[in-house]
């Protein structure tokens, strides 16, 4: 079972979520502040970070950015629906997914599993290493390099790239991507996809303004290439 680090300032939510997840077999470490959470990160070595965005002192967005600077740790942010501003900022800061509070533990666990799940699209005929322009994608090793330089991609960014590159030039709607990459159904916010695409472009494209690898088809969605 995955190890989860929970950073949440409200004691009842912290305790409730910790209890609920622990009952389901997760190993949970809870921290009340961003600083304490970052401190626990190195020692606890979690598989996933559950991060409340509204924290006293160092807020969730800052924690998220700091973690993303040197880590590919999956991050799910806890948010309240309607605090749309927070969702967008959190997603831009590098969160992979979000959960709307209040949520049942089964929902939280389903999100955790979805984020941690590897894409199962490595068909038998597919070469282990694919090269598109300057990009080299290693599906087995889950690494991406650009012009020989390895890229640090967050889990959602990597999964999105792998999914798009698996079918070059095929257009995927945002709803399709939400379903296949994030395992969200129609209840999720399509801005999740847009924010992730924006972050991915920032890492793989030469010019974010005129993307080459991940292209937009207005009104339809996104596609990989053509180069």
């Amino acid at each position: 079972m995955p190890r989860v680090l929970l950073i949440e300032d409200d004691p009842s939510v912290r305790e409730g979520v910790e209890l609920g997840l622990r009952r389901r077999g997760h190993e949970v470490r809870a921290a009340a502040t961003g600083e304490a959470g970052l401190a626990a990160l190195a020692e606890f070595r979690p598989d996933l970070l559950l991060l409340d965005l509204m924290l006293p002192g160092m807020n969730g967005v800052q924690v998220c950015r700091q973690v993303r600077e040197h880590s590919q740790l999956p991050i799910i942010m806890l948010t309240a629906r309607g605090d749309d501003f927070d969702v967008v900022i959190g997603l831009e800061a590098g969160a992979d997914d979000y959960i709307v509070k209040p949520a049942r533990p089964e929902v939280i666990e389903a999100r955790i599993r979805a984020v941690l799940r590897r894409l199962d699209d490595s068909g038998p005929g597919r070469p282990a290493i694919e090269v598109y322009g300057e990009l080299t994608i290693d599906r087995a090793g889950l690494t991406v390099t650009k012009a020989g330089r390895p890229l640090t991609l967050a889990p959602s960014e990597l999964k999105l790239l792998l999914h798009l590159a698996a079918a070059p030039e095929q257009v995927f709607s945002r709803q399709q991507l939400l379903e296949h990459v994030w395992e969200h159904s129609f209840t999720a916010d399509a801005r999740l996809v847009d924010a992730c695409v924006a972050r991915l472009r920032g890492k793989i494209e030469d010019e974010v303004g005129s993307p080459r690898y991940v292209q937009t088809l207005r009104g339809f969605g996104y596609r990989f290439g053509p180069l």
């Binding site: 409200d10 004691p11 009842s12 939510v13 912290r14 305790e15 409730g16 979520v17 209890l19 609920g20 009952r23 389901r24 309240a80 629906r81 309607g82 749309d84 509070k101 209040p102 949520a103 049942r104 533990p105 089964e106 939280i108 709607s173 945002r174 709803q175 159904s185 129609f186 209840t187 999720a188 916010d189 399509a190 801005r191 207005r218 009104g219 339809f220």
Partner: protein, 495 residues
């Protein structure tokens, strides 16, 4: 151009027209009266002078003339011609009547102009009489002068000879006509000139009135801070001042109402926010309660399960309250995306596990629309859930597009129509107008339904956010039907 402006153009007897008319009438009356009085005075003065001159000189002539009786007709005519030569101010024709003798200075011994009244007056008045006569359009002055002789130092006796003078007054008539012309020619430009102050007065009245009207229109369109600049201290300025004071009061009242409403809204939103955090903790542990309830004694187990179940409902209620507060605060955003509508509806049903024969679908493929998938999911889920709870299975969800107002030349507005029909008893007519109200309970006995009581209100708001409409009704064969119409904007997505 607004309809108000159209009205004012069409209006014939508006304030301006009435003011101008009033000015014209006053000017016409005063000019007419002045002209008439002047005419009368001038005319009589002219005529008076002429006839006084004539009467006086005729009397002098007659008195200076000695008549020796008996007087033969030839001599009389000679005397008359002498008098006729001295006509003043115009030539006159002199006639004489003495017994049966008729003589004149002209060709006819008898005048056709002299009236019997004058003859009677001549006999009655020894100092002479005169009369103005118009014959064949020519004005005449006729003077009668009886001749007298002295009977004693203080008495005179009529000699029986009456002299008449007939004078044409054509020159005087011409002068009077000229006066009339002058009066008319003066009055007409006067009337035209009177229009100018009339227009100015109308303008000075109408401008404040127009400003007032514009201000009232502006108020009507919601700009309650509209004020009119107050100029002067006349009645219109008073009106403007009153208008300003009233709008000020109205603005204050509306602001207070809005503030109260805003406070109420914020309160609902704050309460929901505050409830959400403890609920998040509680909801996270309901599973623990449910799992362990089996090992507890019967009463504790029931209590624990109750708490768990109600926590779930409370979480739904609070979420719905938050959602409705966002709609009220106009903070709800539409995150539209182009979706396959049939697929979206199928996904909604699938996620709610409504995949058995309780829900039937008629979903043609290939209909794409710009929708907020999350909100459309809420709409469909609420309608189907509502139909299953309050109506009856089977519930039918159908989908089609229509071109409303389509004609030969224009395709009209394409709308996406989604219908959710149930097989229950239908909705009572008394309930229909309130079906989308918040917390409206169709059945007073059922104080709490399985839903939050906000489901249909949220559905309505979500449809409205898409620019669409929703209506509830009953099928002819029984069963309620909810119809959602959302305009299609696929051409925007293609561009």
């Amino acid at each position: 151009m607004t309809s108000g402006e159209q009205r004012s153009r069409v209006r014939v007897f508006g304030l301006r027209a009435r003011l101008l008319l009033a000015f014209l009438v006053v000017a016409a009356i005063s000019a007419g009266t002045t002209a008439a009085l002047t005419y009368r005075e001038a005319r009589s003065a002219l005529l008076q002078t002429a006839q006084d001159t004539a009467v006086t000189s005729f009397r002098d002539r007659v008195q200076q003339t000695g008549f020796s009786l008996p007087l033969p007709r030839e001599d009389l005519e000679g005397v008359l011609r002498d008098i006729a030569r001295m006509g003043k101010p115009h030539p006159w024709v002199v006639f004489a009547e003495y017994g049966s003798i008729r003589a004149s200075s002209g060709e006819n011994p008898v005048s056709t102009v002299i009236t019997p009244e004058l003859r009677r007056a001549a006999r009655a008045n020894p100092h002479g009489s005169f009369e103005r006569v118009v014959k064949d359009g020519v004005p005449y002055l006729t003077i009668a002068m009886p001749t007298v002789f002295k009977a004693g130092p203080d008495s005179v006796l009529p000699s029986g000879i009456v002299l008449y003078a007939v004078m044409r007054m054509t020159d005087e008539q011409l002068n009077v006509d000229a006066l009339l012309m002058a009066g008319r020619d003066g009055a007409l430009p006067g009337l035209a000139v009177a229009l100018i102050p009339g227009l100015i007065a109308a303008r000075s009245v109408l401008r404040p009135v127009r400003k007032l009207r514009q201000a009232a229109l502006s108020m009507g369109s919601g700009r309650l801070d509209t004020r009119i600049p107050v100029r002067g201290s006349d009645e219109l300025a008073d009106l403007a001042r009153t208008f300003n004071e009233s709008t000020g009061q109205l603005e204050r009242s509306v602001r207070e109402l809005r503030e109260a409403e805003e406070r109420a809204r914020r309160f609902a939103s704050d309460v929901s926010h505050e409830l959400r955090t403890p609920l998040a903790g509680m909801l996270a542990v309901t599973e623990v309660l449910d799992e362990d309830a089996d090992g507890l004694d019967a009463d504790t187990a029931r209590a624990v399960r109750l708490i768990s179940a109600e926590t779930g409902k409370l979480a739904v209620l609070v979420e719905d309250l938050m959602e409705i507060s966002r709609f009220d605060a106009r903070a709800a955003e539409l995150n539209a995306d182009e979706v396959d509508v049939a697929e979206a509806i199928r996904k909604t049903l699938q996620n709610r596990h409504w995949t058995d024969d309780r829900v039937r679908v008629e979903l043609p493929d290939g209909i794409r629309a710009r929708l907020d998938p999350r909100r459309f999911d809420v709409v469909i889920a609420n309608l189907v859930g509502n139909a299953l709870r309050h109506g009856g299975a089977p519930v039918t969800v159908s989908l089609h597009t229509e071109h409303l107002g389509a004609e030969a030349h224009s395709p009209g507005t394409a709308v996406l129509i989604t219908e959710v029909a149930d097989s229950g008893p239908g909705i009572q007519p008394a309930v229909l107008p309130h079906i989308f109200d918040r917390f409206y309970k169709a059945d007073a006995a059922r104080t709490r339904s399985a839903g939050s009581g906000l489901g249909l209100a949220i559905t309505l708001e979500n449809v409205k956010l898409h620019g669409g409409t929703i209506r509830a009704g009953n099928l002819p064969g029984g069963g309620a039907v909810f119809t959602v119409e959302i305009p299609l904007h696929t051409e925007e997505a293609d561009g």
